[in-house]
Amino acid sequence: MDFELYYTEEQEEFRKEVRAWLDANVPPNWKQPADPADITEDMFKVAREFRRKLGEKGWLAPTYPKEYGGGGLSVAHAIIIDEELAERDDIPRVIGDNGLMLFCPAIMVWGTEEQKQRFLPQMLRDGVVTWQGYTEPEAGSDLASLKTRAVRDGNDYIINGEKIFIGADYDVDYIFTLAITNPEAPRHQNIGAFMVPANLPGIKVLRLDLFAWGGQPGKSHVFYEDVRVPATHLIGGETQGWQVTQSSLEVEHGGGGGVVQRHRLLEHVMDYCRETQRNGQPLIKNPDVQQEIVDIFIKSEIGRLLELRNYWMRHARKQGIGYEGSQTSLHRKVTGLEIVAAYQRILGPTALIKDPKWAVHKGAIEVYQREGICTHPGGTIQVQKLIMARRMGISRTKEKAAAFV
């Protein structure tokens, strides 16, 4: 058993290459705001352009095959790129794209060769932004009860309906849209999944006014009015949309795992506690503060280890993900709420303040206080538990993990 990430000499040379490229190519004077809501449209454009450049290098999706626009690199290389990006604070970070993480794995499993050739390079190399068009006003946790309709018309489908709490602000290229294709068929067997170009006539995007949502600059309400989509944009069979969805949800529910090395927010808070006095002594020397920090540390470490385990399971391909994906999401969501309260106990009202004069770490803690409440994106706590029970074989519904790459 080996928890260390080892790099060969060649890989360390690659790291130097990545670092040098980043030094030369990050947008000059980029200041990532702590609050994603402070990202302007101009900043979004700069971020998109940087993303495109990364894609051109094959570094947006390093492990995907080169023929589809990926980097054709090993997992180790992908981790190196992630590490180098994470080390810097001059990298533009927030783009409302779900395509890389969710739909590329689904298209790899369900797309035709022609579709892979058409869509994957756009997402992996060109840095297009794809939104997840799932949730509707009447279909959240109960996604299968969605109502958006796609009716076949010659070589096209006509889509009518709406999606809510999707995407982000500003620009978008595709909306991966779920729609009912056969209203006569039973639940789960009546849905199609479409890569809908977002600039088609009939698509209207309205911005929502939310106090937080998963680190995005904003969320949108999208209306489809007689939107004509070529049938070649249907991914998988006409009524296979639910299975296609499951492949994307497998990743969204934590099946992908990750390699997190440091708990940066905790480090910043501990620095603050070293530098800040309360009642004549540094906060960090207060035994109650120390216990809050221990609690946050332990919860963060458990989260790190669960992500690592999932990452290993996925890439070692030793066995399919069972309950572990949702377990990791559940842990993150539940402990996130607990940690948010712990920070407030340690810091007091300053944890809630955005004004630079009093905010902790440039307002990052204030953002975290809001974001921590949003345990619902990517599946509520209740949904994660449902999935875990099914995967452990104690539920009425028997369920196995969906295929994803």
Binding site: M1, D2, F3, E4, L5, Y6, V259, M270, C273, I284, K285, P287, V289, Q290, Q291, I293, V294, D295, F297, I298, E301, I302, L305, L306, L308, R309, W312, A316, K318, Y323, E324, Q327, L330, H331, K385, L386, M388, A389, M392, G393, I394, S395, R396
Partner: protein, 379 residues
Amino acid sequence: MDLSLTETQEMLRTTARDFVERECPTSTALSLDKSETGFSPDIWRKMAELGWVGMILPEAYGGMGSSLTDLAVIYQEMGWAAMPTPLLSSAVLCGLTILEGSTEEQKKQLLPSIAQGERILALALTEPDYGWEPEFVRLTAVAKNDKFVLNGTKLYVPDAHIADQLICVARTSHNTDPRKGITLFLVDKDSPGLSCHTLSGFIGEKVNEVIFDSVEVDRSAVIGEVDKGWPILLPALEKARILLCAYIVGGCQQVWEMTVEYCRSRMQFGVLIGTFQRVQDHVIEIVNEMDAARWTTYEALWKMDEGKPDAARAVLMAKIVASEGYYTACNSSHEVHAGTGVDRNYPLYLHTTKSRAYYDYLGNPLSLRKALGQQLCEG
């Protein structure tokens, strides 16, 4: 980065699983728990024959020089079976202490027989004024000519009742630093003045009250040097702590399997109880505690074997998580099992009582969290 067991460890695991299923099935675990000593000489002998007893000790002294992770694989299976064993007390706590501090002559005299399971030792550390830190060592050892005279009480000592000898942690002098002035003595169990009484209660390990009433020992019984015993003990304590965590992980695994099985067989209201979401919540609690304990323990084992600088911190964290996890997992399992869970013919209570014993053994979450806090914030 590869989180799988090595081929050797995988073989150890299957061997250990076969062994516990054969030698300590549920019926045996239940009857051992109800027995007076909780000790099976037959199982012990077979473990010694397999080389497991001395595994952690160097080959030069009759052991196998195995890594902590190797031994942990076996511990996890023993914990899964709720199999009682003096292995931790004898070979790990006492064997490693002797290895760390004894003279070459003492090592040659003691370690091979410990490794062969011919001699069982137990560590007498904690006292009525209870704690695992050096300031809680109050039992006195006073020099008298060429002997020392020991006076005091050791409390909650596992395996003292079956041990041939005890390593007694005594205070030989006072110092502003409580870590100084502690001496380790090897004491024969049948020494005049030494009495041992196994305590009864809701505790899944047979623990003892050991009274030292003017017990005399030779100077030669000192392990290491007078007043310098505490540092000798620390490596053994740390290794025992993480191996105990592996045992706990196995226990959590069994509790989870038992509870899932119960959910898939028990019917109420015309359906399997596993279909009730409030019941599912408890099973989810169990699996989450199990995996938190599992992965903090595995990483700590790796850090210890690799000599990583933050290994000590990882062990503290693993013990906190495993102690709290086993305790909570058993509580949740009781929620699911209801009346069946408290039946002493059903194996859940073996884990529940062990979860209570190991909550405190080798350091409880309260004191370990304090130590971890100081390390994180001031270290």
